[in-house]
């Protein structure tokens, strides 16, 4: 039982990370029906943004007060990159055949990875992430299960972000504008909503959450490298589809489910097909099964057919 609870906690922690990134896919998809394949790289940029902030301004500091600055650094970096992408690469292609933005996104992914690898000092191999007092360090023991301090941060970050997001979407003018654009962009435009701006805001929101996720990943795994965006992005996309792409709360639920499935697969699938090496396979099998049998996802979303 302890093992089950322990793995559940591990899964929820991992899942929270996926959920934070998955929201970015889902928000953008809900509004422009575009899979921002480079979103994983935005997350990676966020992680490097916070590392750079720490290295430049707070090198050697481990106090908790540094953490807010690192989060701000991460969010600034990822939002800036995401807005730039939207403006330079995606906006000119908004009416192009659907292949074009997807291939652009692949190109951007490769470009961003390489740019970080080549031009961020020392990024050719993994870089250690700063350790922050109270957030990293020795684990708690609660009954039979071990609670890592970073896990509390990750889960907490998801909860805070989800509440803020809910507030933004349901209680602000801009948020309701987003809902309107996602339902019918043309009518929304006629109603005087600046659609271009709304789309940029959607990219920015996704990027901000990805930036937070970048910090969380750094603290959780104690190191970052230029390639973390690929797998994380793929998993987060899986989470978004699992929950129902376009549905923000679906993304959160999908992320948590995916994380738990992975953790449980390591512990409880017996025989040679269990264990850590197969966990990614099970995650992707889950994606394919969901897409084939329930394309609208667990939480349901309007199915957009853009073929």
């Amino acid at each position: 039982m302890d093992q089950f609870l322990q793995q559940l906690l591990n899964g929820v922690t991992l899942g929270s990370l996926y959920a934070l990134i998955a929201v970015g896919y889902t928000v953008v998809y809900g509004i422009v029906q575009l899979i921002n394949f480079a979103h994983g790289e935005v997350f990676m940029i966020g992680a490097f943004g916070s590392l750079a902030t720490w290295t430049l301004f707070f090198k050697g500091q481990t106090g908790l007060w540094v953490l807010p600055f690192m989060i701000i650094g991460a969010v600034l970096a990822s939002v800036a990159v995401a807005l730039l992408l939207e403006r330079v690469a995606y906006r000119p292609l908004r009416n192009a055949p659907r292949l074009a933005p997807l291939i652009t996104a692949i190109g951007i992914s490769v470009f961003l990875q390489e740019a970080v690898r080549l031009f961020y000092p020392g990024a050719k191999s993994a870089l250690p992430f700063p350790q922050i007092d109270l957030v990293t360090g020795a684990a708690f023991q609660v009954g039979g299960i071990t609670v890592r301090r970073s896990a509390i941060f990750v889960i907490g970050a998801l909860v805070v972000c989800a509440v803020l997001l809910w507030f933004f979407i349901n209680r602000t003018k801009m948020g309701r504008g987003m809902l309107a654009v996602s339902q019918d962009p043309d009518t929304a435009r006629l109603m005087g909503i600046n659609v271009d701006r709304i789309i940029a805001v959607a990219f920015a929101i996704g990027a901000a959450l990805a930036g937070v996720a970048g910090v969380a990943q750094g603290l959780q795994n104690s190191n970052i490298d230029f390639f973390i965006g690929f797998m994380a992005g793929l998993k987060a996309f899986t989470a978004a589809v699992l929950g129902g792409i376009g549905n923000i709360y679906g993304a959160v639920v999908g992320g948590l489910v995916l994380g738990v499935v992975e953790a449980m697969a390591v512990q409880f699938i017996p025989g040679t097909f269990g264990g850590s090496p197969w966990k990614d396979v099970w995650a992707f099998v889950l994606l394919i099964v969901v897409l084939v049998f329930r394309p609208q996802g667990l939480m349901g979303a309007r199915v957009v057919d853009r073929a």
Binding site: L99, L102, T272, F273, L287
Partner: protein, 569 residues
């Protein structure tokens, strides 16, 4: 159908000042090339000899010759050609190329010699010439030209043009591959790109495109002759053949992917898995000491099995197409590619049965042997030794020929038209009675079959099969080859594959920036030329919907094609 209609109007009875200026520039450029460029022989393949131009100087003399040709056109004496070619635009591109080339040459001399003191006057004479050409040509007025589709030349002229083009391609490839020096290779590339752009600006290529359309058989046959003869230009050296063979394998795989993406419009981001499946099956059944399957059938059987295993995987991955489409499908295929990579990484006995030997892969795959012909040995033909890679090259050439035949036949068949219909509008196609699901499955299975075939040969050619050869980036490269070259065309894919595999091998000095450039290239292509370098006309229209002129021309070409076929029947 009149071909040579004498045109009375002569636009420039007397040479204008800009014409003269350009001519002076050309003369200076060529004269400079006959003089030495540098004191140090080690630079740019020795450009120190008087009146005996080195290779780099010859390139500029060629540019001069093309410029003279354009200048002659402008005298108005060659009406037929003048009507076809916009000489002013060609001249402009050409002079910019020459200027860029000369500046780069000076920079290279200054950097490698080192110091500008080692540059001889020749290089400056040529540089000044090139700059004069720029000054002259940019003040020349453009003249309107006739749409090449309405021009009909005697067929022998057309065929001579094709032969010349193919021969240039062969020489160019053999020469470029032979260059070890990165600076020379870059300069040659600049020359090549510049001349191609100049000729394209002048309208030569749209004319050649029309000719190629008319003489498709000739050009296919000729292209194969060129490809077949290529190993004979290598004097038994394996270094370039190894690259050439990899280019062919890559191109063959990309052609298979082109069926799925280019024709049926189904984006497949995990295609490398099919190549991998073929390679793994072939490796597991080979005589390697690490092979995991005891049964060793003859190679031809292995090829069939490998291709079938691949196409079964293709069917499996194609089956969700019934339910999902568009971007979702792209992600399903991407997930499938990852599942393949992870699975071959896992199946080593520790995790799952021991089939693929895990991350270590299956090394030590023996050479192919068909009958008594061992692919590892050097064979001599017509006194020219052909090494190990040349053997695989010929084999791949045969496979490529088969695949190209299948591709073009399918493209022009009911199935191909069905695919295109699905690509353009799935719902409409279904309403017109196209079996959408069946055709999609067939595209996946067929594409996978071809990749499996290529993979089974790749395993032997590579000697070892490892999971890290079949990562997502490779799928992205395949896709890029298609996008770069032009979706849905054979020539485009061949061009794209060659560019993507050859450049990194030769431009080793920028090796670290290879992927960065690749990413940027994809973005820029999608932004500015989404239809690729050698687009199919229909595809180009999809990306430029508001280009009515292009639409009209395609319509015309189509009608012309129809009347021709009818006339023949």
């Amino acid at each position: 159908m009149t071909t040579t209609q004498s045109r009375a109007a002569v636009s420039n009875p007397r040479p204008s000042s800009q014409w003269l200026l350009t001519l002076v520039g050309v003369v200076l450029l060529v004269v400079g090339c006959l003089l030495p460029w540098a004191f140090v022989p080690a630079i740019l393949g020795n450009v120190t000899v008087l009146l005996y131009p080195g290779a780099m100087q010859i390139l500029m003399i060629i540019v001069g010759a093309i410029a003279v040709f354009f200048l002659l056109l402008r005298t108005g004496r060659f009406a037929a050609a003048d009507r076809l070619l916009d000489s002013a635009r060609g001249l402009r591109a050409l002079s910019v190329t020459a200027a860029a080339f000369m500046v780069l040459a000076v920079v290279i001399i200054a950097m490698q010699a080192p110091g500008l003191a080692n540059a001889d006057p020749g290089v400056y004479v040529s540089l000044v010439g090139a700059l004069l050409m720029v000054a002259g040509s940019f003040r020349m007025p453009s003249d309107p030209k006739v749409d090449p589709i309405t021009v009909h030349l005697p067929s022998w002229v057309e065929i001579v043009v094709i032969v010349v083009m193919l021969a240039i391609a062969l020489f160019g490839a053999a020469y470029a591959l032979g260059q070890e020096d990165g600076t020379i290779f870059s300069l040659f590339l600049l020359f090549l790109a510049g001349s191609v752009v100049a000729l394209a600006r002048a309208g030569l290529f749209s004319w050649i495109g029309v000719i190629a359309q008319r003489n498709r058989r000739v050009i296919t046959l000729g292209a194969f002759a060129v490809a077949f003869l290529f190993p004979f230009t290598q004097n038994g050296s394996d270094a370039n053949m190894s690259i050439a063979t990899q280019v062919l394998i890559f191109a063959t795989t990309a052609l298979g992917l082109n069926i799925v993406v280019g024709l049926a419009g189904l984006l497949d981001l995990g295609y490398i898995a099919f190549l991998g499946a073929g390679a793994y099956v072939s490796a597991m059944m080979s005589h390697s000491a690490f092979a995991t399957i005891g049964w060793k059938p003859p190679f031809i059987v292995v090829v069939v099995i490998a291709a079938c295993v691949s196409s079964i995987l293709g069917l499996i991955i194609g089956s969700p197409t019934l339910r999902v489409s568009g971007d979702y499908l792209a992600i399903v295929t991407l997930a499938f590619g990852e599942i393949f990579r992870l699975t071959v990484n896992n199946l080593d006995g520790n995790n799952g049965p021991d089939l693929t030997n895990g991350p270590n892969g299956i090394p030590g795959i023996p050479e192919l042997e068909i009958g008594s012909f061992n692919f590892g040995d050097t064979h001599t033909l017509l006194g020219i030794p052909l090494g190990r890679f040349a053997n695989y090259y010929f084999l791949m050439l045969v496979v490529a020929a088969i695949i190209i035949t299948i591709f073009t036949r399918l493209n022009n068949s009911r199935i191909g038209r069905g695919w295109v219909a699905i690509r353009e509008d799935e719902k409409a196609a279904e309403a017109m009675g196209v079996n959408v699901f069946g055709l999609k499955l067939f595209a996946f299975a067929g594409g996978a079959f071809l990749a499996g075939m290529a993979g089974s040969i790749k395993a032997h050619q590579d000697v070892s099969v490892t999971p890290d050869q079949y990562i997502f980036l490779e799928s992205a490269f395949l896709l890029a080859a298609i996008v770069l070259g032009g979706m849905g065309t054979v020539a485009g894919v061949l061009v794209g594959a060659t560019v993507l595999k050859l450049l990194p091998e030769k431009l080793r000095f920028v090796a670290d920036y290879r992927l960065l450039t690749f990413g940027l290239l994809l973005v820029l292509m999608m932004r500015f030329r989404p239809e690729g370098l050698v687009p199919s006309r229909r595809r180009a229209l999809e990306f430029h919907e508001d280009d009515t002129k292009l639409a009209e021309r395609i319509e015309e070409a189509h009608l012309e094609g129809m009347t021709k076929t009818e006339g023949r029947a």
